[in-house]
Amino acid sequence: MSENKQARTVLREIVDSVYRRAWEAKERGEPVGWSSSKFPAEIAETLGLAVCYPENQAAAIAAKHGGQRMCEYAESMGFSNDICAYARISLAYADGAPCEEKPVPQPDFLLCCNNICNCMTKWYENIARMRGIPLIMVDIPFNNTVDVPDERVAYVRAQFEAAITKLETISGKKWDNKRFDEVCANANRSAAAWLKACAYCAVKPSPLSGFDLFNHMANIVTARCKPETAAAFEQLAAEYEQSVKSGESTWHYDENYRIMFEGIPCWPVLGSLFKPLKDSGANTTAVVYAPAFGFVYNGIDEMARAYCKAPNSVCIEAGVAWREDLCRENGVDGILVHYNRSCKPWSGYMFEMERRWRERLGVPVVGFDGDQADPRNFSEAQYQTRVEGLVELMAAANAANSAQ
């Protein structure tokens, strides 16, 4: 890693290199996989297999304004526009839809873990069928309890073992336990550094905008098992430490308010999303991705337990606790909830979460309708009114507090 490059540049280059290696592997005739974001990345990394991440690819396509075109392509293939836009974009791409925004090699095998959501299962099954390629599935049952029971750990672990055997057959490579230990150590180091960097959101004023974390998520998803990712996150944390000392921030506006942004950003309309937040000085200082991807484990059983927990696979008690802790630690004044038309599982339990936050955190909570990748589901005027309402409520609460 170069001394004078900023961590965010290094992090971006690492993600680029993941995709570059996938193209190189394809050229060499090696099999390339597509993986869901929270499939145990340690497995493919141990076997030295090149893997691409359709959710990350779809977000990039959407941010470059290709989302609607790709979604419409998928709809003309017969997929409903009620299906997650990431899935629609990916299905269109797998069908060969022209796409300049973020080309990745087509898959030779699929790694799907439904801890992310169950839409994922059908999405990957469709691609497997369309392209006639093997699908390796890790099924994570919904966690209706806060703790993961031992029998579930055994069930998930057994699936890890089956996945390893299948991948050995597909790739002709041999599993190496020593390499696996190294890879796990890297993943743990990345996660610890990620959590450390995210924790700087608690500093007032924050040395970062929480939206940075959405961008850096690409690394925790695509490259968490790589030592260079761990090093770059450590550098990022060190930079935030330095910014705290020098009073700088990646949020270049006032920090009059601190909010939790709940949900995935609307990638096609980031400018519209930011505008009222910038104008009112509302910095995002809490996003759930910190605890959702910052998991450290010891040994394969703990790894299985860790992969059982993702935003949409934990019960509402655990989901509320993750966010409440974040809001308390990071001192938020209000919460902005994205009711994401794409992501039914995530948006579905927000109504009840909202109610609990209002009651237990005593901060205003406001929701808006949108979509992470299909711009047709977002209305700027409606969003703006809701954010202004949130800001007015936060302003009134702050005024009442300072009058006391």
């Binding site: 009711y339 109504f351 909202e354 109610r355 209002r358 205003p364 406001v366 929701g367 309708d369 589901n377 209305s379 005027a381 409606q382 009114t385 809701r386 202004e388 309402g389 007015e392 409520l393 009134a396």
Partner: protein, 264 residues
């Protein structure tokens, strides 16, 4: 001293002029929102009723969807705070405001002095908003103001979807095609709008006094259906449609007066 509140909505423009005591001196309402001549017509009507010239206005605050598109004068404010202030000005004991406008439905929790405490708004869909009633009125060729009289004659309870404005419309057409009685259908339309607003209201809880504002408040049928759904009495002022503009005017007045409403 006079101040002006304007509420440039999606389908209509409203203006209210108040004096330093908060008394309404002039009001105007014209069809057409931002980009139309509605705002100017509404202003002219309010000025004429108040018998003053525009230059006599000490301050102007704008609200509504079109607030950023008109001359911003002394500031803008979201319609959330404005409806809370406006409802409080009309009914001082207001705790919950149900505001159903042209394309929005919102439920406001209001504290002392009309302070907005919390709110929830509808999602993107037009179901449960004034736009839905307009569509039905157009599809069935019955004026909105006449629908209540029909609904009062309803004999049978039929249900139509409350989740999607487009589905509901086609459902209604097919109900009629299958011989459903028009009166029953209008009553179902009102219940559909009311049930949508009621489920929104239940998300933050309904407290007494409950007040309805916005264009749909004029509609007796919806108000009655909502009272039934929520099991509360709902107060509606004849000035319900002006609540947002009135709230903007009240807000415009605040920095100019002390607590007793005297000019500072």
């Amino acid at each position: 001293m006079f101040v002006l509140g304007t509420d440039i909505g999606s389908t209509t423009s409203k203006c209210v002029i108040i004096d330093e005591t908060g008394e309404i001196k002039g009001k105007g309402l014209a069809p057409g929102g931002a980009g139309s001549d509605g705002p100017y017509k509404a202003l002219d009507m309010a000025l004429a009723e108040a018998r003053i010239a525009q230059k006599s206005l000490s301050r102007t605050i704008s609200t509504g969807y079109g607030r950023n598109l008109v001359d911003k004068k002394d500031g803008t404010l979201s319609e959330l705070v404005c409806h809370a202030l406006g409802a409080h000005a009309l009914f001082p004991d207001t705790r919950t405001v149900i505001d159903i406008g042209g394309q929005d439905a919102k439920i406001l929790r209001v504290g002392e002095k009309g302070r907005l405490e919390s709110f929830v708004m509808n999602d993107k869909c037009a179901a449960g908003t004034g736009r839905f009633l307009e569509n039905i009125s157009r599809a069935l060729n019955v004026r909105i103001e006449d629908m209540t009289a029909f609904a009062e004659l309803a004999e049978n309870k039929i249900d139509i979807s409350s989740t999607c404005a487009v589905f509901a419309e086609s459902e209604i057409v097919s109900q009629l095609a299958h011989g459903a009685n028009k009166n029953d259908v209008f009553s179902a339309v009102f219940r559909s709008v009311a049930s949508r607003a009621a489920s929104l209201a239940n998300r933050i809880g309904v407290m007494r006094d409950t007040v309805m504002t916005g264009g749909v408040a004029k509609n007796e049928g919806v108000r009655k259906a909502l009272e039934e759904e929520l099991n509360v009495r709902i107060y509606v002022s004849p000035l319900a449609q002006y609540a947002g503009a009135l709230g903007a005017a009240v807000y415009a007045l605040e920095p100019l007066t002390n607590d007793r409403g005297k000019i500072q």
